[in-house]
Amino acid sequence: MSSRKPLLQTKGLGIQFGGLKAVDEFNFSIDNNQLFGLIGPNGAGKTTIFNLLTGVYTPTSGQILLDGKTINHSSPTQITQMGVARTFQNIRLFKDMTVLDNVKVGLHHSHQYSLLASILHTPSYFKGEMAMDEEARSLLRVFDLEKFANVKACNLPYGKQRQLEIARALATSPRLLLLDEPAAGMNPTETAELMETIKVVREKFSVAILLIEHDMKLVMGICEKICVLNFGTVLAFGTPDEIKNNPDVIAAYLGNDA
C-alpha cells in the first residue's frame, strides 16, 4: 500500500505574485480513487492551488508530480490530456451551447477524426460523431441530465448547471477530478444530492477527487482526508475527526479568542 506511487504529489509548491506569497511550501499527495478535501478561510489560496495543479499558473517554487513526473511547465491543455480535470467556483459552462455539446467538447481529445473526414463526410466522420454522441449521452444519463440534452446550458437550473460541469469534466476521462466549491449557492437538499453524486462519480469512474468546499457537512461527510489551508500554508492535515478537534483549525476559523 505505502510503496505505491501517489497519483499526484506536490513538493514545496509555491507561487508568489509580486510580494505576496499566495501559496507557500504546500506539500500534499493524493492516491488513486481517494477523496480529499481542501478547506480554509476565504483567500487562503485554495483556488490558486487548483490553478497551479491545472497549469493555469506556473509555480514559482516547488514541484508538481503527476505519476511521479513533474508537470510544472505543462500547459493546461496538456495537463487535461494527462488526466486532470476541474470545475470552477463560478460556473464556466459554454452557455450558448447545448447540454449535449458541452459534454462533447469535453470528449474533444478522446475522439479524433480528421478535418478532411468531416468535410468529405467519410464513414469515419459519422462513426466518430456517433460514438461521441453515444458517450456524451451516457454521461448525461449518470447525472439524470439526458432529458435536457438539447437545452442551452444557460437555461438549466442552477443545481443542474453544477452537475453538468462535473459531467463535462468527466468527459475528458480524468484520473483526478478537481471540484471547486461544487456546493456553492446550493440549498441543503441540492447539497445532499450533490454528496450522493460525488460518491457515485468516484465509484463509477474510479477517479480521485480533490474538493474545495466551505460546506463543512459535505466535506466532513465524504472526504477521507482533509487539508486545511490558511494564508497559503498548510495549517492542518488529517482525517475529518482529527480536523474537527484540531485547536489550530478552530482558531483559524473562529479567531483566537473563541
Binding site: 491545472t54 493555469v56 500547459s75 493546461p76 491543455t77 487535461t80 490530456q81 480535470a85 476541474r86 470552477f88 464556466r92 459552462l93 459554454f94 452557455k95 450558448d96 451551447m97 455539446d101 462533447k104 467538447v105 469535453g106 474533444h108 481529445h109 475522439h111 479524433q112 477524426y113 478535418l115 468531416s118 468535410i119 466522420y125 466518430g128 460523431e129 461521441m132 463535462r168 468527459a171 475528458t172
Partner: protein, 291 residues
C-alpha cells in the same frame, strides 16, 4: 422589374462582402481581435489566382483551389508571426499591428506587381439569362451559389463537427476550453485559415466581377465587409451573411436610384447608424455591462 434586377445585383455583390465579413467575424469570435489586414489577405488571394492562371497557365479551377490554400496559409502565417506574440497584450497593440500587416502586404504586392492594374482572366462565362424580363448575369448567379454553399458548409462544420465545437468553446471561454483539453493556438490558427480561405473565394469573385486587380483592392472591400460584420453583429456567422447581403443591396440601390457618388457615403452612413442605434448589430448578443 428594374428594381428586382438591382436587388439581385446587390445580393450578388453582397454575398461577396459576406464571404469577407465571415472572415472578420470568425477571427473576432475566436481570437477576440479585429484583423484589419483581412482585406489585404483577399487582395493577395486575387493575385494568387491571377498568377496561377496567367503565368503558370493552370486551369481556372486548379488555380482557384491553389489560391484558397495559399491564402489560408498566408492567413495562418500572419497570425503566427504578427499576432501570436501579442496574445495577452492590449487590443490597441494588436490593432496597430494589424494595420501594419495590412500596409506590409500592400507594399509587398506593389513591389512585385507595381500599382498598375492587372487584367484578371475571365473565368466565368459572360452573358446573362433572361427570366420573364429579368436579366441576370452568370457571374451574379455563380457568386450567389458559391457564397451560399460555402456558408452552408461552414455552418455545418461549426455546429456539427468536433473541431467546430472546439471553435465555439474557445470563442465562449478560452480558459475553460483549454481545461477541456482543447489546444487554443491550433483553434485560433484554424479560424484564420477558414476566414482567409473563404476570403480567397471573395478575392476570386472580385477579380471575375471587376476584371482588374491592383494592390489596393483590399482596402475598400475590407472596410465594407467589416461594416457588414458589424451590421450583422460581429462574432455571428449568420449575422455576417445578412450584414453583407444588406450592404450589397443598399449599395446597389443607391447606385441605381440616387447616384454612384453616394454609394460609399450610404455604406458608411449605415455604420454610423448601427453604432448609434444597435451597437451589437442585428444578430449580436447584448453585452451586459456590469455596474
Amino acid at each position: 422589374m428594374d428594381f428586382i434586377n438591382q436587388v439581385i445585383n446587390g445580393l450578388s455583390t453582397g454575398s461577396m462582402y459576406a464571404l469577407v465579413a465571415i472572415g472578420y467575424t470568425i477571427v473576432y469570435g475566436i481570437g477576440k481581435m479585429i484583423n484589419f489586414a483581412h482585406g489585404e489577405i483577399i487582395m493577395a488571394s486575387a493575385y494568387f489566382a491571377y498568377v496561377g492562371m496567367s503565368f503558370l497557365h493552370l486551369p481556372a479551377l486548379v488555380a482557384v483551389i491553389l489560391s484558397i490554400i495559399l491564402t489560408a496559409l498566408l492567413g495562418v502565417l500572419t497570425e503566427k508571426v504578427a499576432y501570436k506574440p501579442l496574445r495577452g497584450k492590449g487590443s490597441l497593440e494588436v490593432l496597430i499591428t494589424a494595420i501594419g500587416v495590412s500596409y506590409l502586404l500592400q507594399n509587398v504586392f506593389y513591389m512585385i506587381f507595381t500599382s498598375s492594374g492587372r487584367t484578371f482572366p475571365q473565368i466565368m462565362p459572360k452573358g446573362a439569362i433572361n427570366i420573364g424580363g429579368l436579366s441576370i448575369t452568370y457571374i451574379t448567379i455563380i457568386t450567389l451559389i458559391v457564397s451560399f454553399v460555402a456558408t452552408g458548409i461552414l455552418l455545418f462544420f461549426i455546429n456539427k463537427t468536433r473541431l467546430g465545437k472546439a471553435m465555439r468553446a474557445v470563442s465562449e471561454d478560452q480558459g475553460a476550453a483549454q481545461l477541456m483539453g482543447i489546444n487554443v493556438s491550433t483553434t485560433i490558427s484554424l479560424a484564420f485559415a477558414i476566414g482567409s480561405g473563404l476570403g480567397a473565394l471573395a478575392g476570386v469573385i472580385y477579380g471575375a466581377k471587376f476584371s482588374i486587380i491592383n494592390p489596393y483592392i483590399g482596402q475598400m472591400l475590407g472596410i465594407k465587409a467589416f461594416i457588414a460584420a458589424v451590421l450583422g453583429g460581429i462574432g455571428s456567422i449568420p449575422g455576417a451573411m445578412v450584414g453583407g447581403l444588406l450592404m450589397g443591396v443598399a449599395e446597389s440601390l443607391t447606385i441605381a436610384y440616387i447616384s454612384s457618388d453616394f454609394s460609399d457615403a450610404v455604406v458608411f452612413g449605415i455604420l454610423i447608424l448601427v453604432l448609434l442605434i444597435k451597437p451589437a448589430g442585428i444578430f449580436g448578443s447584448n453585452v451586459r455591462e456590469k455596474v
